[in-house]
Every structure is written in C-alpha cells, then in structure tokens.
C-alpha cells in the first residue's frame, strides 16, 4: 500500500481558477519525493490536502489508505509536518509545546526528543514568541519527528533559514532517513537541497504534474539543447521534435529541453535540424527547473 496517494485532486480557491487541476501520484514507503514548482504552483495546497487541513473539491487523497478528513487523528498520529509559515502557540514555552506534542502522540520517543533538544540547544523555559525564525523551525522539526512518524510532510521547511540552519535541518532529516527509512514528501525552492535529499522529483505546473521521474533519471535522461537563433529554426519546429518537452526563447539562442540523454538528443538534432549548430548537454536540477518552467507555452 502506498504511504500517500493523490488521485485526480482538484482544488480552486476561486471559482473557475483551479490551483490543482487533476493531480495524481503516489508515494511509496521509503521514498523521498521532492515536490517542486513555481510559487503558486499548488505545492502548499497539495500538502495541506494530504494533512486534511484542506479538502479536495474533486478526486481523493489517501494516507496509508485512509481519508485524512474522515480519520484525522489516526492519520495525523502517523505524520510529521513542518511548514514554512507554521504557527506555534506564541504564549507557550518550548518545554510546554514539547509536552503538548508528547501528550498528543502515543508513539512519542523521549530519548529522540532529548537528543534533538540537546543538539538544537533550545532552552525549554523560553517562550516561543521570543525565538528567532531558525530556533522556532528547530522546535517545529523536533515536534514533527520525535513521535517517529512513518510519513514526513515538509512544506518549504528550510525557507528563510540561514545556510548553517538549513544544513542542520538537512542533517537531521538524513539522520531520520538513515535510522528509520521514513517516507518523505517535501517541497523546496532550494534545488541543491532537493538533489541531496530526494530520490524522486514531482514537478507541478499549471495545476498538473509536469514531471514525475527519479532524480537521477531526470538528471541523466534529459538534455538541454542550445540552438543558435537562425531564420530557419522556430520554437514550434523544435517542440514538434520527438522528446522535446519545452522551449525557452532567449536573445541569442533557443533553449530546448529533451526527454532524451544528451548524446541521443544531439544525434536527433544533427539529423532533423542539420547545420543548426545545436549543442546538447546534461544540466543540474536548478537549470532544469528554470528551463522547464520557462519553456512551457
């Protein structure tokens, strides 16, 4: 059984404007899925639907086979959740909010909470409203993982953190993967973090899943072709080539993304677009993001 399954999920905040327009994918136990996409692509909406905080207007979501709206407590006990804009009760102390989570989660692990509290150096007597953003996120992470969740949902967990705090967050997540093989769905705009953590990439665009591939398959199975601008070459012509999934127009060249490895993409261009002077290469995730988003009609 999948840890998490979205089936044809639709959600609009305003009538006729679907933020999610039929999203389907499943996350299998032990997978680490990086959810990427532009601001407004629907990443947060999707994660909130999985948490049962929002309802899908069409389609369905299942967490461990359960509907998070019908069985909220059962589902939430098995999930850890950290979000960029998560609000912890400001009038509570760190110790009190930890005690609160401890009472809500039967699987709470005191030892793991203690180890994290020590590492994060958070003072239990301090009120949450006096914490810095980085310290507050540490407390949120501690509360999200100390009950040893089977599924971790992270919505931009590292945004707004300084590089050291971001790295610490990654280290803790990697440790969790090492120890428990936790299933993780996380959204992020930091493509280098995604490359470190994820084994699969789901990219949302225009309310739908644009890319759903293993990270390494994506890195090695896609090529960027730089095609110098000449009168004989058009965007439409490139898009019509087999495997072409996006074309971005730049001043000096057309950037075409092919779902082919670089060598095959180059062979194809040499054959179908002889004399264009196109060069193909593999690209890192950050460039892939820019080219894919910018290359959509």
């Amino acid at each position: 059984m999948s840890a998490l399954r979205f089936e044809d999920v639709h959600r609009a905040y305003r009538r006729g404007q679907d933020v999610l327009a039929g999203v389907s994918f499943a996350v299998e136990p032990g997978q680490v899925v990086g959810l990427i996409g532009e601001n407004g692509a629907g990443k947060t909406t999707l994660i909130r639907i999985a948490m049962g905080m929002l309802v899908a207007q069409r389609g369905q979501v299942r967490v461990f086979g359960l509907d998070p709206r019908e069985r909220p407590v059962e589902v939430k006990r098995r999930i850890g959740y950290v979000a960029e804009d998560q609000i912890l009760p400001p009038y509570l102390t760190v110790g009190e909010v930890i005690a609160l989570h401890r009472s809500l989660f039967p699987t709470w692990d005191d030892r793991s909470a203690r180890v994290l509290a020590e590492r994060f150096q958070v003072d239990p007597a301090v009120k949450l409203r006096t914490l810095s953003r980085g310290q507050a996120r540490r407390v949120a992470l501690l509360c999200a993982v100390a009950h040893r969740p089977e599924l971790l949902l992270l919505d931009e967990p590292a945004s707004g953190l300084d590089p050291a705090a971001r790295r610490e967050f990654l280290e803790t997540s990697i440790e969790l993967l090492n120890e428990a093989g936790t299933t993780i769905l996380f959204s992020s705009h930091y493509m280098t973090d995604v490359e470190r953590m994820a084994d699969r990439i789901v990219m949302l665009h225009g309310g739908r899943v644009l890319i759903d591939e293993g990270l390494d398959e994506l890195r090695e199975g896609f090529a960027l072709a730089l095609v110098p601008r000449t009168p004989g070459v058009s965007r439409e012509q490139l898009l019509a080539l087999p495997g072409c999934v996006g074309v971005r127009e730049r001043a000096d060249a057309l950037h075409a993304i092919f779902h082919l490895d670089p060598r095959r993409a180059e062979e194809q261009l040499a054959r179908d677009l002889a004399g264009s002077g196109a060069q193909c290469r593999s690209i890192a995730l950050e460039d892939m993001f820019v080219e894919l988003v910018g290359g959509q009609p």
Partner: protein, 127 residues
C-alpha cells in the same frame, strides 16, 4: 577516504561518488582490501540520501571495484580491475581528455608539450 560532493554539479551526486572512488583506487589512495564507509556513514558524512550512496556502491560493485561481505561491510576488491571492455575504458577517458585539451589550448600549450607533461606525471606517480 575523502569524498566531496557538489549538488548542482553537471554530474548527479551518485556519479560524483563513483568517479571519486575510481580516482582514489586508480591513484592508490584506496588500497585493495580497505574498508569503505557504510551507506549510512557516508550518507551522514556527505549529507545526502542513503539511497544515493547505495546507488553509487551498487554501480561500483557491478564493475567489480568493491565487494560487500555479509555482516562485515564493504571493501575495495582485491582485484579492483578496470572493466573488461577496452573500448569502454578508452571512452571513459574522453571527457577528461577533452577538458585537458581545451585547457591546453587556452594556455597555448602545444600538444607535444601536453604529452610530455603526461609522461612526466606518470613517472612521478610510479617511481
């Protein structure tokens, strides 16, 4: 063994690991029989997903460069021989050779001098 990975590099992280282990074996920095860090150790050390380490090790194991001994760990093979296909071996060098020649052209070093340099380095490495 010192491995350093750079996310955002042209090569995926698992390929960076494979390449650096190959370099270390070829350069004698990793000796046959030497113990490799476990998946978990290397994942924690490099701050990358353990699955990525597994993928790199699987590839190295397939090429006969390392071997896993059940319950004991992963070791550099006693016969850390290069893959059998000479054409493939040669092709593996192509990228590095192309980069070297571009660098040489930028520094205005003629091909003959590049060859001399290679021989000089080879002599230094294997006295």
């Amino acid at each position: 063994m010192l491995i350093h990975v750079q996310p955002g590099d042209e090569l995926p992280i698992y390929r960076q690991i494979v390449r650096q282990v190959l370099d270390a074996i070829a350069g004698g920095r990793l000796a046959p029989g030497e113990r490799m860090p476990s998946h978990r150790e290397l994942a924690a050390q490099l701050v990358i997903a353990p699955l990525t380490v597994k993928k790199a090790y699987d590839e190295l194991e397939r090429d006969g460069l390392i071997e896993t001994q059940r319950g004991r760990g992963t070791f550099v093979s006693e016969r850390a021989a290069p893959p059998a296909d000479p054409a493939e071996n040669r092709e593996r060098l192509r990228d590095a050779a192309e980069r070297l020649l571009s660098q040489a052209a930028l520094c205005c070093v003629p091909l003959g001098d590049v060859m001399n340099l290679l021989e000089e380095i080879e002599r230094e490495k294997r006295p």
